[in-house]
């Protein structure tokens, strides 16, 4: 879906097979065709999640709630070469926080977290099968977005990471409760407490990724999986998903509280400044 301006463009396209919808925004675009919703992320350089992305994700989930009755699958993928999503826009977070009084910055952070949690909870609980088709960098908030999906299909060059501890923070977009939901506690401790990145094969070994495919093939594999899902009774799928995939609402709220508590510390300000100002070849390493 080409993006020409920051204004959205909604097209209603009717075909012999039924209606289709397309909408293009500045950081993402979505389509609904033949029962499959596709959300394409396209903010350079790697879909960093800042205020514009959040606003457009909120528009997407509003549209999702209208589209989901006509769909059996949602695929989320990236059109950016470096990867699926590198996480929160740390530059925006740092610059905005520095420009405010501490109390105002803290309120702004909590507001952002509560909004992104609402978006991610809608995707997590959507009454259709959701698939994250990932490649390259899938870090932090990007990893958390992928974790909202029922399935992660990864190309062999994808790399996953929760680097937040390197900044004096914890994942704040729901990553910890969702990791705990999906994986054993020892693996969760390894990922969070070391902050190390790991490849797609490792991700599949630990049960995070359902399919590892060739480089550049994740979207194709996701579409093939979505085509298979069309065969199943929708009401049964919805009931099964509700049964097997509870949303950990209380823990998600606790994560927001802990993140906000940590955010005010000097270690976080120093970590963010170091990341934003660093021109080293390896700025992401502590």
């Amino acid at each position: 879906m080409p993006v020409t301006t920051k204004e959205s463009k909604v097209q209603e396209v009717k075909s012999e097979r039924g209606s289709a919808t397309a909408c293009a925004k500045s950081t993402l675009a979505w389509t609904l065709s033949e029962g499959v919703i596709e959300l394409a992320l396209h903010r350079a350089p790697c879909n960093e999640l800042g205020s514009t992305s959040l606003g457009e994700l909120e528009e997407f989930v509003t549209a999702l709630e209208r589209m989901q009755d006509d769909a059996h699958a949602l695929i989320i993928y990236s059109e950016m070469t470096p990867g699926f999503c590198a996480g929160a826009d740390l530059r925006e977070l740092y610059l905005r926080s520095e420009a405010m009084e501490k109390a105002e910055a803290a309120k702004g952070v909590r507001d952002f977290l509560e909004r992104i949690h609402r978006v991610f909870n809608v995707i997590d609980g959507a009454p259709l099968t959701t698939i994250a088709a990932v490649h390259g960098v899938t870090f932090g908030g990007g990893f958390e977005l992928a974790l909202t999906c029922d399935l992660i299909i990864s190309d062999k060059m994808a790399r996953f990471c929760f680097p937040e501890l390197r900044l004096g923070l914890i994942p704040g977009f729901g990553g910890i409760p969702r990791l705990k939901r999906d994986l054993g506690n020892a693996v969760v401790r390894d990922l969070l407490l070391t902050g190390r990145s790991f490849n797609a094969n490792k991700a599949q070994q630990i049960g995070l990724v359902s399919q590892v495919v060739g480089e550049g093939e994740a979207l194709r594999a996701a579409r093939a999986t979505a085509a298979q899902l069309k065969k199943f009774d929708h009401a049964t799928v919805v009931a099964a998903k509700r049964f097997i995939k509870p949303i950990p609402h209380e823990e998600l709220r606790q994560e927001i509280d802990l993140f906000c508590e940590l955010f005010g510390s000097p270690a976080v300000e120093a970590g963010l400044r170091r990341f934003v100002e660093n021109t080293d070849a390896q700025p992401y390493l502590p």
Partner: protein, 80 residues
Amino acid sequence: MQNAEQTLDEILTLAAAHFKVPCEKLSPDEDFFKTLGIDSLQTLDLLTKLENHFHVELPDYELQGVSDFRTLAGKIQARL
């Protein structure tokens, strides 16, 4: 099990193919960030390629301070 020199040769070949440069351009002991003009994310890509090729897992924090292929080869060799 292969030796360190073999591992180094394979890494140089893989890196040359991955970054699309002639193998002769890559020196085992020079700073590959400067030689290749790559950034941290591109290094992670190379790390993934090496992990897949050698069937090892190398925590990226072990790469801290590593900027030449010989040292990188030593890290991989230690996990074979």
